[in-house]
Symmetry: D2
Subunit: 226 residues, 4 copies
Amino acid sequence: MSAIKYPVIIVNFKIYIQSVGRKGLELAKIAEKVSKETGVCIGVAPQTPDIRLIAENTEIPVFAQHIDPLPPGRGTGAVLPEAVKEAGAIGTLINHSEKRLRLADIDECVKRAREVGLISLVCTNTPEVTYATAALGPDIIAYEPPELIGTGIPVSKAKPEAVTAALELVRKINPGLPVLCGAGITTGEDVKKALELGTRGVLLASGVVKAKDPYKVLLDMANSCL
Amino acid sequence: MSAIKYPVIIVNFKIYIQSVGRKGLELAKIAEKVSKETGVCIGVAPQTPDIRLIAENTEIPVFAQHIDPLPPGRGTGAVLPEAVKEAGAIGTLINHSEKRLRLADIDECVKRAREVGLISLVCTNTPEVTYATAALGPDIIAYEPPELIGTGIPVSKAKPEAVTAALELVRKINPGLPVLCGAGITTGEDVKKALELGTRGVLLASGVVKAKDPYKVLLDMANSCL
Amino acid sequence: MSAIKYPVIIVNFKIYIQSVGRKGLELAKIAEKVSKETGVCIGVAPQTPDIRLIAENTEIPVFAQHIDPLPPGRGTGAVLPEAVKEAGAIGTLINHSEKRLRLADIDECVKRAREVGLISLVCTNTPEVTYATAALGPDIIAYEPPELIGTGIPVSKAKPEAVTAALELVRKINPGLPVLCGAGITTGEDVKKALELGTRGVLLASGVVKAKDPYKVLLDMANSCL
Amino acid sequence: MSAIKYPVIIVNFKIYIQSVGRKGLELAKIAEKVSKETGVCIGVAPQTPDIRLIAENTEIPVFAQHIDPLPPGRGTGAVLPEAVKEAGAIGTLINHSEKRLRLADIDECVKRAREVGLISLVCTNTPEVTYATAALGPDIIAYEPPELIGTGIPVSKAKPEAVTAALELVRKINPGLPVLCGAGITTGEDVKKALELGTRGVLLASGVVKAKDPYKVLLDMANSCL
């Protein structure tokens, strides 16, 4: 377990077959290796059943992919913030485009994360939603236009003005709030461009998880952060 | 890991604070102890991040509390059947009253469970829904009137005619399909009554998880199965 | 308002721009005209705000597109069965592929529809789901493989064996329960084929609503029912 | 149809049996009468199937209780913004506590409302959510702590500091954005207190719809606005 250092690269494992269990651990080990070699902070968001496996066997920051806005008690099948914390996660994604939450629940998730000591990273889809999310006081925002997710068309190149607009709106609420961007990020150049726009890092998934050589891709990306 | 033997007692850990992580493992160890002492099959359904911890450190059947009806791929925050299987679960609850699913998704979850080799245990709330669920071909059904869940008023005593009605409807579809009941089960007597009605066991939660002495309660229940 | 007579053609207006308000009424008038000319029963399912407009100004059967499984009371934004009944609907679609419901809610919707005197027409997506739905005791089932909806590839020709399988499963529960089919139906020939398979009619949408000449298409379909 | 004038009283009909169809029209007529007698703007949010009935037969502002964030097309059972507009609504509630929406969908609903010319009134449940909602640029916000809805304990008296906090946060985004409050409002005094706190009116439901004498209650409330 370790804290976040910027710029940061966060790899979302989604529910790709390439990230299940032992394979997920291998991916996390690769991220750890690149992080140690370059000094760049690389976090991972494994599948929920794999959080403990990866947190116990690596030293990189582990995020849950989702928490539910519930207190302990009833809630069969829900992901309790306390449970991902005890399993070793230091933070959690909230409101990913594949797990959109109700506004009231994002508010509650951010509060629950704070309560149990998890870093809250809220995903957003438009500049306006990014602005609104900043008002909820999360620890990190990741702006990802959903139409680019998984396409290989990098948000940092395809929609630089939208990234800039989102950043400016966030600054009006809290100039110190770190904003990442994501969607279509597959190369070090995409990462570099994202940082040039003023983001503090990237959130990505298929670009690494489904890469032929995840080590090479991550190394390229990490080198672009230096 | 082991197969199911009837009568069976399945303990749903929900997201009770008493079942998080190490505490959940202790609960599972108690279930394992009672099972070994009495020879009665006792399964547990831990919180999703704890499936592997408990499956690797006990020899009792472990169920997921929920799976999502998705194939591997995109689906951040979802619970992939393959992932709970690899983490060591032998089955999964589906459609618990606290995680109700759409009919089309229950159908798909049952099929996905079969595909990856997980026992599907679908929860139902009325005799009609139990009848419908039988038609979907799951491995086990647990009938639980939601108004009694967590009350301590046992379904087997408060609604014996509803249990009987559900069993008769299931028999019209598949006489061999095991039906459990649940809701309000807190004593061995409740379990005994459930078996007398023709069920093959019980699904319960707070009666054990929140008990002062879970060992004592489970032992009483297991003895009622002999 | 009038009862259902088989074979029946039911036109779902969805939320097509071609079916909003006055345009929806025009479409319903066309359906009424064809129904009167041919004697074939044609029902319509207008947008929720248009139910009364169409029920008051035509004599064909009007269905709601959806009801919520709630009693009167709190439930802002929900569609109360009593309200669509008073607005003039004689029935309601339930669980359309674009408005999938939880199993427990379909059960409750069927019961609420019966309670207030609405015909319940439950949509299904697989033979297994059709079988399960029959167990819930609705008045009509419409089997529609979602992958064909809106494609113009008629279910009655592309998946005749699936339709037949669904019909056989329904018969095991209730031989008298009328089953329609839908998805990709755009011509009289598609309708004819559907009836030959043993269905009692069709549920369709774009084939009529988005047709250049809805009168001509509906007339062709109605003539195929004679 | 008419525009909004502040202070405003908006009566949400929910799905109370007292507001179905003709009864809903009677309620709206009472609101219209009080509005004409006092000159205070009173709007109503009828059940979806009753929007046209009430819009065509009264001259007060009519709001939909909900719209879906969809374009015209597929979406059976959804409420199309264009359809409620054509039925005569001048605005719509969005994200009521009984119909909570995902953040991304609230953003889209606000944009869709603007596109078709509907006033967007977004409901919120905490000061933080109110702040976030202001960032989305709706036309009106109604802050309603859900724990007080339907209790008769007025938000304006039970939580004045929360209302004040919400108002201050909204001012940081847009000082001109009208904020209403709601929950537990049943008397003219409750309304008066709400206005003293700086709100521009109230959103209420049971206090009027379930009142023995809605005319008397509304008149008392309207007089408190003078």
